[in-house]
Symmetry: C2
């Protein structure tokens, strides 16, 4: 395969955007794979903020980053990513180099603990303000679950509405697949 | 910019797909830039078939590849790419490793000499049959001109309908830009 699959492409974008020492965000820790990936990219001088509504996700992520000896560069919050702006340190605002959100359910998790489309859009609005110029938010949109279509429409509308003077918004999607496969929205904040 | 622009991404895909000695197609020669790019990728052992409805495009492309001393590996046809299957040598059928189509008008060209959406879809249908397994067709869809929307819909519908068992179809599109910017459809034929 020459075409990168969705998760490969998401990681490729993050690798090309993030360097050692950077400050980044995992909006949806889930099982902690992306949090650990980000912690590796930023190195011991960087910092990762992680968020998840599910307590199991925070537990899993916490033990995963500890296993890799990276817990001192990761701070986890058991809350919605829509509380982003309140929880990011003042000195990191406007300096976030990269972020990843996986929108959808963590497999096997409590499906009653969910984020509303309004919260997700509010969170992304906060996120793009927090981004560094040249920084990027990578949003992987899973939308096959109940409520997924509604969230998808809200997020795509938000992304389409971003001012092209300040942001590049790419949609990366395989369009001939069954069963509502995920797609990527990548939002890059342009240089000043 | 970390996100590759449309033409950068199109060329990146071709570079990652095509090697020395390959047989490839430029469906829309235009000013000949892509034909020359392909001729370089396939090297002296490879071969490029080029098509264009506009005689000026064939003249420009012919002199461009001659300037670079690559005319012996390029064959140009002054006809629609919908005549593809008739003109490709039998021994090259099923062995085409890469192709590029730029759908839209050549700037400054005769706007009465156009391809219909039906011809374009027929051509792409022929093309994917001619592709090697692991080969790729990159279609850059310009659609801001009269008739462009109709062609866009026909081509996207065709691409969406391709069987996912045999083809991966990616849409790569910047979604927050004014003035109907072009987007990419990349069709990769899976290994047998």
């Amino acid at each position: 395969m020459t075409l990168l699959r969705i998760l490969e492409y998401a990681h490729d974008l993050l690798k090309n955007t993030i360097s050692k020492g950077d400050i980044v965000i995992d909006g949806t820790c889930g099982n902690g794979h992306d949090t650990a990936f980000l912690a590796q990219l930023v190195g011991s001088e960087g910092f990762v903020y992680g968020f998840d509504l599910q307590s199991q996700a925070i537990t899993n992520t916490s033990s995963r980053v500890a296993q890799h000896g990276m817990d001192n560069r990761v701070e986890l919050f058991h809350t919605s990513h829509s509380n982003l702006n309140k929880l990011i340190a003042e000195e990191h605002k406007g300096k976030i180099q990269g972020a990843i959100y996986n929108l959808g359910y963590l497999p096997g998790s409590d499906k009653t603990v969910i984020t509303t489309p309004e919260e997700t859009v509010s969170s992304l609005q906060q996120l793009i303000e927090l981004l560094n110029h040249g920084g990027m938010a990578v949003v992987v949109v899973y939308h096959g679950h109940p409520g997924g279509e509604e969230e998808k429409h809200a997020v795509v509308s938000f992304a389409e509405s971003l001012n092209q003077t300040h942001y590049e918004v790419l949609k990366y999607q395989f369009i001939n697949q069954q069963n509502s496969p995920p797609f990527i929205l990548a939002i890059e904040k342009k240089p000043e």
